[in-house]
């Protein structure tokens, strides 16, 4: 892997996607959410992890799209899949049946215990902003072996307590998975455009374990809605490699061209 020529520019969004992609490995079976997770998962597949198995909730098993899908059920996903099953089968046999190692999710809001809110801002009966809702996330987060989360860092997104727990991280007190049988480990890493966070092994509170190059502790603190903690041994996230950026950009260009047509 060639190291990056530092004169080459990359965006913080690219840094996020490349870092998220690196979390996936060959041999993992990954249930992929649309948007950022899908971008990262396909980048992984096109770079270091050609053997990662990607599953989308539309029923497409082991799919290898050449362009990123706009929706979770684009034709590309089916055409490049090993096979396509019904949606009930997808959720019953493949997700709930324990065949998924990693659920890869985005979210609108996340709190310090990695609970996710994609339901609404404000009060349920009189919402300030109505968000799309749970979709596959509530059961992906509990039935997958572990969960990776990726989203852009901001004070609006990273809140101390989510307005609504659509999807379990570790519960409002960090103990939401304690003693619950037959569920996964939950979120094991959160990848943003500033840093990588992991839950504290004891308290389950999200803790920064790695800062992206050029990002300061203050940048992260500033963009987080609670007093974010940092690991004692804080790492520096490795730079994107040149080929990762090239492949990511090619992928996004191909995608944009295709979505612009009918």
């Amino acid at each position: 892997m060639s190291t990056l020529d530092m004169s080459q520019e990359y965006t913080s969004a690219e840094m996020m996607t490349v870092t998220a992609a690196r979390a996936l490995e060959n041999g993992m079976t990954c249930f992929v959410g649309i948007g950022l997770p899908s971008e990262a998962a396909n980048l992984a597949r096109l770079t270091h992890a050609p053997g990662v198995v990607l599953i989308y909730e539309s029923g497409t098993l082991q799919t290898k799209p050449d362009v990123l899908p706009l929706s979770i059920g684009d034709g590309e996903l089916c055409e490049s899949a090993l096979t396509t099953v019904s949606v009930p089968e997808m959720f019953r046999y493949w997700l709930q049946g324990g065949k998924v190692n990693v659920g890869f999710l985005g979210t609108a809001q996340i709190d310090r215990f990695a609970n996710l809110n994609t339901t609404l801002i404000g009060d349920y009966q009189a919402p300030k902003v109505r968000l799309p809702g749970g979709g596959g996330a509530p059961e992906i987060a509990t039935n997958a072996g572990e969960v990776f989360i990726t989203l852009k860092h901001s004070k609006r997104a990273f809140v101390k307590d989510v307005d609504f727990v659509t999807t379990l991280g570790f519960g409002r007190d960090g103990k939401g998975r304690d003693g619950v049988p037959n569920i996964g480990k939950g979120p094991t890493r959160v990848i943003t455009d500033l840093c990588v966070m992991k839950p504290d092994p004891e308290t389950k509170e999200l803790t920064v374990v790695s800062l992206h190059p050029g990002v300061s502790r203050e940048d992260v603190t500033e963009a987080t809605g609670w007093e974010i903690r940092f690991a004692d041994e804080l790492e520096s996230t490795p730079l994107p490699a040149e080929h990762e950026l090239r492949i990511l950009r090619d992928l996004k260009n191909r995608t944009e061209r295709q979505h612009a047509g009918e």
């Binding site: 059920g73 019904s86 799309p132």
Partner: protein, 272 residues
């Protein structure tokens, strides 16, 4: 036994005001033409069931056909909000609608249970989610063998289900291919069902384990070419992703939306 009807007659005959209606198709094969016909016939007080309301229900809600929506993910896929759904929920325009909200897993299982003739679906679901606090249709049961606490939701059994498919043969047997979603389950779970198809053929030419819905399990088949646009039909035409993006601007504004419906739905004949 499937009867071949025009889309107009199929909707007129089977979709009654106040009915519980599932128009399914998971991104693929969304029965848009049928949805537009429901709008043209000014159906009222419908309870609309879909995992992903998508543009089809955004249009039906904005046109005032719905009194309630049962769903699990209410966005414009890859684009953003369903503004008509949000306007109805947040501001009551054009009318107040109730929502009942599930997760995908629960709705998929509820369709499966409906097709299976059961009153409930059981799943390992909603663990730690606050959805059960706002949806009183989510209950929990204890496994009599292991003591494990599992979620239970009522099965989905619509008055009428509407789906789109590739083709039917002359006996009304229907082939669904590609992303099959919960379409078969929706048809089998419903009291009545309408299937729109791209074409009628002499022979479905299907492999032994294809997703074929027999004509005797369907009430009406209507031929509607391009009946899924701007969604797509595997093997026939691709998804119009550009329109999905354009919809955001159309649906943001009540007047722009109303004009769009007038020009593109109300003023069109079903076969246009």
């Amino acid at each position: 036994m499937a009867e071949f009807l025009s889309l107009h007659d199929a909707i007129a005959q089977y979709v009654e005001d106040g009915a519980t209606v599932a128009m399914e198709g998971f991104t693929h094969l969304i029965p848009f033409a049928a949805g537009h016909e429901v709008i043209r016939q000014r159906k009222q007080d419908l309870t609309l069931i879909r995992m992903t309301p998508d543009l089809i229900y955004d249009q039906l809600i904005g046109a005032g056909c719905a009194k309630k929506v049962i769903f699990s993910w209410g966005g414009n896929p890859g684009v953003g909000s369903l503004h008509r759904l949000r306007d109805a929920v947040e501001k009551g325009w054009p009318r107040h609608i109730d929502i009942l909200e599930h997760s995908h897993a629960a709705m998929a299982c509820a369709f499966e249970a409906g097709a299976a003739g059961l009153p409930l679906a059981v799943l390992r679901g909603y663990v730690g989610s606050e959805l059960p606090s706002v949806n009183d249709q989510i209950k929990f049961i204890e496994c009599p063998f292991t003591g494990e606490r599992l979620a239970a939701v009522p099965s989905i059994r619509p008055d009428v289900s509407v789906v789109h498919a590739q083709k039917a043969d002359r006996a009304g047997n229907v082939l669904v291919e590609g992303i099959v979603g919960v379409q078969k389950e929706a048809v089998l779970a419903a009291t009545r069902s309408i299937v729109t198809v791209e074409e009628i053929v002499d022979d479905l030419d299907a492999h032994p384990n294809a997703c074929v819905i027999p004509g005797w399990a369907i009430d009406a088949v209507a031929v509607v070419e391009k009946g899924a646009l701007p969604s797509y039909t595997h093997g026939y035409y691709p998804r119009n992703n550009r329109f999905y993006k354009e919809w955001d601007a159309i649906a943001r504004d009540r007047d722009v939306f109303s004009r769009w419906i007038d020009e593109n739905v109300m003023n069109q004949r079903e076969d246009a």
